[in-house]
């Protein structure tokens, strides 16, 4: 099969709407922070959070069709639009039927489901919920609304991978492209900043600050979507993973180390060629142990970290997506192979290898 290439990116993060804002914040270590009191009236355990302070889906997409979007849906629909635009694809009917969406998540919009549930407890009658908001409670709302907004009739899927959401979606999308269920996939993930997620983060004692983001990439079989020859930004050189029952950090690190080796083998790269690495962050004290066991011995010492949580907060399912965005930003100056290694405390793990496109110098400016 022809190469799997990334031909477009879309990112919405605490840094703002678009890749440019994200790249600037990461390059200058800006650490954008918003006052949560400006977002929600609820008392929250944080004074400053990596969230978008002035995000308005209505301002970006208009009022029609967006009135009932929850925040996660809004972020995802905007990021999908950016990735489509960035890929320069022309969306004819045929292309629309062969272009799909795969979005990673943890639980969809916890705010939407939780508030719906809350209404059944506090309303005068338990059934006095708003029917229009009901679709927001299902986890595939963001992907479904993205398809409606951008009129994409191809496969539409939501992958609940928690911190592996993006990498699980990436692997799922590879299967669809490989088996020709689709010619191109918008692959990404989304998490929203809400009081529910903020309190969950706090009560779990998770490190870092709860953040929010959507990162979406156009992934396609090279040449499958006309016009041929749109210059790719990067090549997906491998993605593979598994599950470690019990999830003990030492054992998980060992499995992950083997998986990194296997992924590099699939990508026909040696560990010494790897120059960037991203890892799962913000889960807890086990993270460091897993990362050390997985990557400590095998990769070059000079490898550069793609980790983003210090700047953009804990973005859950989007973490590896933001790391991929950070990587692509660096590709303009310094393209080189990267390993994105993800895991969850429950024992899931996934490794992606990204490398520069075959025809160096073909980047769009």
């Amino acid at each position: 099969m022809t190469a799997l290439v990334i031909t477009g990116t879309g990112a919405v993060s605490a840094a703002g709407v678009g890749m440019e804002a994200l790249v600037k914040a990461l390059a200058e270590d800006e650490r954008p922070r918003a006052d949560p009191a400006a977002l929600y009236p609820d008392p929250l355990p944080y004074q400053a959070v990596p969230a978008l302070s002035d995000f308005s889906v209505r301002a970006l997409l208009g009022r029609k069709g967006t009135s009932f979007f929850d925040r996660a849906t809004s972020l995802a629909v905007v990021a999908c639009g950016q990735a489509i635009e960035d890929s320069q694809v022309t969306l004819g009917e045929q292309v629309r039927c062969r272009m799909g969406v795969a979005l990673g998540t943890t639980v969809g919009s916890l705010r939407s489901s939780s508030e719906y549930s809350r209404e059944t407890l506090v309303a005068e009658r338990p059934y006095l919920v708003n029917p229009v908001l009901f679709p927001n409670t299902v986890m595939n709302c963001a992907a479904g609304q993205a398809a409606i907004w951008h009129k994409l009739h191809g496969v539409n899927s939501t992958v609940a991978g928690g911190r592996l959401g993006f990498l699980d979606a990436l692997r799922y999308a590879v299967n669809l492209l490989r088996r020709k269920h689709a010619d191109a996939m918008l692959v990404g993930a989304v998490e929203e900043f809400t009081p529910q997620r903020a309190w969950a983060h706090y009560r779990l004692g998770a490190p870092g600050l709860p953040g929010e983001a959507a990162a979406v990439f156009m992934l396609e079989r090279s040449g499958a979507i006309p016009p041929d020859g749109r210059p790719p930004l990067a090549e997906l050189a491998a993605v593979t993973g598994g599950f470690h029952p019990g999830g003990d950090p030492a054992g998980l690190g060992q499995r992950l180390a083997e998986c990194v080796g296997h992924a590099l083998h699939l990508a026909r790269l040696s560990p010494s060629q790897v120059r960037y690495v991203g890892t799962s962050e913000c889960q807890g004290p086990g993270d460091e142990q897993v990362a050390k066991a997985a990557l400590g011995g095998s990769l070059p010492a000079a490898v550069r970290s793609l980790d983003v949580a210090a700047v953009l907060g804990d973005c859950g399912a989007v973490s590896a997506g933001l790391q991929l965005a950070a990587l692509l930003a660096r590709y303009f100056e310094d393209p080189a192979p990267a390993v994105l290694a993800g895991w969850t405390v429950d024992g899931g793990y996934q490794v992606a290898v990204i490398k520069e496109p075959a025809h160096a110098g073909a980047h769009r400016q």
Partner: protein, 410 residues
Amino acid sequence: MWPPDDSGGRRVVVTGLGPVSSVGIGVADFTASLRAGKVGYSPITSFDPSGFPYQMAGEVSEFVPAQVLRRLDPSRWGRSSQFAAAAAGLAMRDAGLDGGQVPAASVAVVMGTTSGESQVVEELTAQAVAGGGGQAYEPGLLTRLPAARLAYAASEELGVTGPSVTLANACSASNYAIGYGYDLVCTGDAEVAVTGGADSVCRWAHAGFYRLGALSEKACSPFDRDRTGILTAEGGVAMVLESLDHAERRGARIYAEILGYGLNCDADHMVAPDAERIAECIRLAHARAGIKPADVSYICAHGTGTGSNDRAEATAVRIVFGDQPPPMSSIKSMLGHAMGAASGFGAVAATLAIAGGFLPPTVNWAHPDPDFSWLDPVPNHSRPAQVRIAQNHGFAFGGNNCITLLGALR
């Protein structure tokens, strides 16, 4: 090597079934109920339904996790994860693969769901309401929240180490999971895939469907002129898929073969189904399986029992099959709507139809709908039939359509 090619040359068969449903736990009870047209819904007990005008649901009241689970500690997992793990365990036992006959790394798990650990969300929400906000969330409960844990619970229960993925495609999620598992075995990424789905009954879905006008008071009567809607239900379901070679080598009992699947998206409305896109999805599935409409002997319907679903579904079938479509029944008339597990139960029913030579009925059926009077819903009683190819429908919020095709092994 990479990039992977389309080397999906391997045939994939179904060798194990694990239903945990409102009409029975395990393949024997489930089959007997389908044959008898047994109804599984009853007055709600998993939450306090007082104040709700309608109070029926398809709960799996007989489910005692400790009786089914061998490794998983139920106290650490939510109800949907327990359903997924129990279903996976039953399916592997049914397949004769519960004794480490396959290397752990070659077994993948793919589970589908609509609302994941919805009861955990509801419990956390109740804590917040009672305790003045999110500071009342109990940390132990929060660890059970991620929907990824449905597949993880099954992998943990089986002690397997292949890919473990949860697809959250709402009410067609199990069909998506079966499709992904089928591909993993087809391509050799896995030798065995345990695929299905799980969901739990919850207040918010009961309220939401009621307010959409899509909830029935006492009974679900799909394709009936006077149908009034769904009954929410729950459960877990799993199918063991493995390569034909692998199954034959070990002398496994083979229920049926997976012939292929089709997927697409309405991309028009979050809730209202689109008959034309569903028809297109049927055609995609037929093309992938290399069959013609006339080859299909039975359709296991999405058949929710709402006015709009049943009309759109019947219309789509008419578009593809013309004047003489095969019989199409809805097991939701018996189980209720088990959400993310629903199309998995449908796939099990379709498999049993092939292997057992019968058509599951649509119960509670009394009047033909004049809009599709031509439809044979297999009214009220199961009937013997030779089923060569069965088509299993799954549609969902978000317009996520997926149709799987199963066939008798040739």
